[in-house]
Symmetry: C2
Subunit: 462 residues, 2 copies
């Protein structure tokens, strides 16, 4: 394995200049003005993959921006890994805050500064350069590899699910690897083994046909805001527990071992408060902050409106008030089942003479959990251990990444989420960066990961 690492170090200058070339493409997926640039970027990528040995690499059209797809079959009886990434980037605005032009990559203070440096072009190239190194050094790959790099991640991957469904057979694999999340912290490499699911709803309360004069009728007629308040107050108790009956039925408590492991992760309230801009930490009694964010479900109001919201004073008792309520789900919680439970609870809460309407908005997201003991995870752990000299921590992610669920759901295989960049790398913001050494380590980890994974999966199962 030292041979691979040595080869990466030896070729690193070339790998760096190739990434710079990739970063020059203005593959901004949100803005139609850049459609040609997006396409050119996909073509470049396919050409580049062909040049390193993925001879069938091609650009596939979708209803939106194209997908770059490639595969390398060593032996049909060998296991297969699918690498997923995206070559599209966020718009660079506001331009005036960039210290160097976003599409003229600049190496400064050990950082590659450019739009897409971390998200996700730099991390995509970690995998491509890793595979290139293995191919050059060994003339083959340790397992079959499929590469799927899309151009619509920053606009919510509207074409990907269809693509996955239509190409299920072609995409079959034993594991998926994605590098599109950051490490837990500098010097704290991590693998993400869970994502929370999501249910997003909009609740409207109606107490009458029209707003009424709050002088003439105030104190005698129902007020939609007050009813909505009462309902929202009944959704969560003072201990931060969600009060919807059945809500926790499918939530698995972390084992004492898992809790202990979680407590070993460095976490400082003070830093967290500074990072979030809050003056207090809140949440479910009896759980640490990381547990609340990663492994506990929660219910949050995301927006509220009702009555008169213009300037000055208008004296009405509002007949209508609405709130957006989203829930993050964990373990085996099913967003559709939770929606029904919430609806039933509201039917009990809302008094006679008051109407309510509960809508589900945006698609649901199922929680994703990957077993730490999967061989694919072990392969990643070992690779990171070798490169960083320390084992990665297992972390959760409080947010939902719908594509991950799509992969998990449609391909039904373990997903390895290992990120190489840092939280402070300003993705989606001006001066996005990716550490030169993070890039180098990323290539090494990816190379060892593919090597380890081949070894592990090709061993006969006990």
């Amino acid at each position: 394995m030292n041979k691979l690492i040595e080869a990466i170090d030896l070729n690193f200058d070339k790998y760096l200049s190739e990434l710079v070339e990739f970063l020059r493409y203005k593959s901004i997926s949100t803005n139609p003005t850049y459609s040609k640039d997006v396409k050119a970027c996909a073509s470049y990528l396919a050409k580049h993959l062909r040049s390193i040995g993925f001879k069938n690499a091609e650009v596939l059209d979708t209803k939106g921006h194209p997908i770059c797809y490639a595969s390398y079959e060593v032996n049909p009886t060998y296991p297969t890994v699918l690498f997923y990434g995206h070559y599209d980037v966020q718009p660079p605005e506001p331009l005036e805050l960039w210290e160097s032009p976003p599409f003229e990559p600049t190496i400064k203070d050990g950082q590659i500064v450019a739009r897409g440096a971390s998200d996700d072009k730099g991390q995509v190239f970690c995998h491509i350069k890793a595979l290139e190194t293995i191919l050059k050094e060994t003339g083959t790959l340790p397992l079959n590899v499929k590469i799927l790099i899309e151009g619509e991640e920053e606009v919510g991957s509207p074409s990907l699910e269809t693509f996955l469904i239509e190409n299920e057979e072609q995409l079959k694999c034993d594991a998926v690897v994605i590098s599109d999340t950051p490490m837990y912290a500098k010097d704290v490499p991590s693998i993400c083994t869970s994502l929370r699911g999501m249910l997003y709803t909009e609740l409207t309360i109606k107490t009458g046909k029209t707003d009424l004069h709050s002088g003439q009728h105030g104190g005698a007629v129902p007020n939609a805001i007050h009813h909505l308040m009462g309902i929202i107050s009944s959704l969560k108790n003072n201990d931060g527990r969600v009060m919807v009956p059945g809500f926790y039925d499918d939530v698995k408590e972390r084992t004492p071992n898992e809790k202990e492991e979680l407590n070993r992760i460095p976490f400082y309230d003070k830093n967290y408060l500074r990072e979030t801009g809050c003056d207090r930490i809140e949440g479910e009694l009896g759980y640490s902050v990381l547990e609340r964010r990663w492994y506990r479900p929660t219910l949050e109001c995301n927006g509220i409106w009702g009555g008169y919201i213009g300037d000055g004073a208008k004296t009405v008792t509002p007949c209508k008030a609405s709130v957006k309520i989203s829930m993050r789900l964990v373990s085996e919680q099913d967003p559709n089942k939770i929606f029904q439970q919430l609806k039933k609870y509201l039917e009990e809460l809302v008094p006679e003479g008051v109407e309510f309407n509960l809508d589900q908005i945006s698609g649901v997201g199922y929680p994703v959990n990957v077993n730490n003991n999967e061989k694919a995870i072990e392969a990643a752990v070992d690779a990171i251990h070798t490169v960083h000299g320390k084992k990665p921590i297992f972390q959760g992610e409080g947010g939902s990444i719908p594509i991950v669920h799509d992969f998990k759901h449609l391909l039904n295989v373990p997903i390895v989420l290992m990120g190489f960049n840092l939280i402070e790398d300003k993705i989606h913001a001006p001066n996005e960066q990716f550490g030169v050494e993070n890039y180098r380590n990323g290539i090494k980890i990816a190379a060892l990961f593919y090597k380890n994974l081949g070894d592990k999966l090709r061993r006969p199962k006990k």
Copy 2:
């Protein structure tokens, strides 16, 4: 007294055509396009007052639309009554819903249909024609009379308070009479003896510097909407009682006699629900609907907003949420004192690490109460009794009419609020009307009122 009533009936056709003439003026105060029409209306009014015997009637400029002022001094030792009304009207839009043009008064089915018919030109003319009749029949008036008719009532009377302060000496009187409210119901004449006061506030809760990603941080950071909910829920309990400490300190309970009187007023829940478009009645436990609307203070949220209120799903934990809260006040409640009590209560409620800001918006309104035993009220009761053949009920008004408080506060005299039109007369709406017989009765009641008031106030006090 029969002589006056006979004279009114005899001259009624003339009085009706004169009202029609008055109603033709497009004295729309909200729209600058009609400034000249407003001014022309004031000039007409002054001229008309001079023609019936108010020789000094004049148009007084203000920063906005002019005031029409007149006085008739019988004898400086005599008591004085001040009549207040307004000659400006609401805009007539939407024009397409009018069955006859709003400024071409039409008599149809016993109704005078025109913008301003009830609010307030028709009711103003009840008083003017009453005074004209008395002057013609008796050659004098039973007491000194001052007439103040403004042109800015429909835009909130911005110039009136200054005018009252600057002319305090000139406006001195023993009672004020206003006809700008409706009767309680057809066949239920009423005198309004109380108005609720008002305090209007805006409360903002801040839980951080920025909205946060509800996936990454939801369940661990404070959410401004949830904090706002908690606070609002603590403002009123399940019995409809306001929980701000001290809130009820200056609220006088109605006596058993007053309650009994209130219970005799015809009121039907079913009608009220139909009228308001609600399916349930709510409010403070232990009080009837009319008591809640007229004689009990209340606290209502008028508008609320916070977080993401656009279409679709945005996953944020909001750092800011706001609510407009207004309180209607009764008896001796002081809006400024209540504001301080509310602020102090919020200081206790809002936890550490959460910021709040409470602003008073729009001017405060003190509650207004008129003693039923005032001679001015007795004079109105007797006049109504004579004309309608039944005594008026005493009613409250849940809303606040700031000018009434200004008069009460600055002139410190009883205010007689007796209305002649009906709730169903569509003021501020298309096809505003005033019953021909309501106009006739209004003139008669006003005439008898001035006569009675002169008699009562000129009698030596016991």
